[in-house]
Subunit: 231 residues, 2 copies
């Protein structure tokens, strides 16, 4: 029945697992090379070679180099959000929480990578769904988890948690675009972010903190198609 004798119970499981692993490896390699050399400085052949794949596998999984670029950036951005949440989660005061969250986000290379992906998507509207899904997760899951995290800490929660998450990420992107253009350090961008957040999200500064838990720590992060659609 099965094409793989080691997994007789579920036909195709092994090949699906191998497919996911190759897909994930290609994303890892793409992320590193694109961040280092940019879209134009990386070829599909080079990526395939480094990942131990055939070039045809890259186009099979991702269709185009641009789609791979955007998907890698979107996946990394979700890791940025998760890492920021983990860093902030160790804090015990609202001010400490906000500072840890902001510093973690602003220090992340992947923030600039994601902004490049959004800029690319402007002229490649076929890639919109990847970016839209990533922003949706940042905004909606972030917003939902925000209220829960506030309550768990005994801090007052804002009324509109999704708006709070949207505002946080819009300011983040705006400051990063400006900061990258000006050659600012991540510390400088973090200071600017803290300045602009002010008594963010709402209410007295001592009572509220931007606790954006975006995804559970043990959750697999993917901006790509659902598992069902994988080969």
């Amino acid at each position: 029945m099965s094409s793989d004798s080691e997994h007789p119970a579920r036909p195709g499981t092994a090949s699906r697992t191998a497919g996911r692993q190759m897909r994930s490896r290609l994303l890892d390699v793409a992320s590193a090379r694109f961040r280092e050399h940019g879209l134009g400085g990386v070829s599909i052949a080079a990526l395939a070679g480094e990942a131990g794949a055939y070039p045809s596998q890259v186009t099979y999984y991702f269709r185009t180099k641009e789609a791979l670029f955007v998907e890698a950036a979107c996946r990394d951005m979700l890791y940025v959000a998760r890492d920021a949440e983990l860093a902030a989660g160790e804090q015990t005061t609202p001010a400490g929480y906000t500072r840890a969250l902001v510093c973690s986000v602003m220090q992340a290379d992947a923030l600039g990578f994601f902004i490049e992906a959004m800029t690319l998507t402007r002229r490649r509207q076929d890639l919109v769904p990847l970016v839209a899904r990533t922003l949706e997760r940042l905004h909606v899951e972030g917003g939902r988890a925000h209220a829960a995290a506030l309550q768990a800490r005994g801090w007052p929660a804002p009324t509109d948690t999704e708006t709070v998450a949207r505002r946080f990420w819009a300011i983040t992107v705006g400051i990063a675009v400006e900061g990258h253009a000006l050659g600012r350090s991540s510390d400088e961008m973090g200071d600017e972010m803290l300045r602009l957040l002010g008594n963010w999200p709402e209410g007295p500064a001592s009572a509220t903190a931007p606790t954006l838990r975006l995804v559970a720590a043990n959750q697999t992060l993917s901006a790509g198609p659902d598992e069902e659609s994988l080969p």
Copy 2:
């Protein structure tokens, strides 16, 4: 004494005026062509031809195509801010003022042009001063004029006007980067901006409005070098 008999009182005045006019014409042509075709789709020769100049004049005034791109975008961005202020100035309520300001900014083609210039500057740090000067004007002059505009309307002014201006423009840039990536209309971006501003800048929504008067209406806008440094 003078090289131009029509302006005997101030040696060199006529040639300086002609230089400024050529410089301004080149910026106008560059703005239109770069917005239409992007940096890569426009040549110095084509720009010069359309402006009635020699290619060497383009490099004389701007050094590189990238510098011309960034300066044109910066100049246009200052016009965006001025036009938004003029549109908002006709409103009589804080809510109307905010809506007019936001809609005007989000409808401006030049906002995306300026974001492209900031993205370019990330890899061309020699162009940082142009972007830095433009953001400084948006933030500092905007902040200063903000307080005056609020007082003139009898509305309470926020305590830190520069921070208010910085926050406004960071959110604007963030929403525009996201919105352009998602293929959003200017109306949708305006709605998102109004959502994120909330009771921005501070205090009760009915009492405060984002009156960012950035430059006086009759002031010449230039992101380029001071007049003294012009040929």
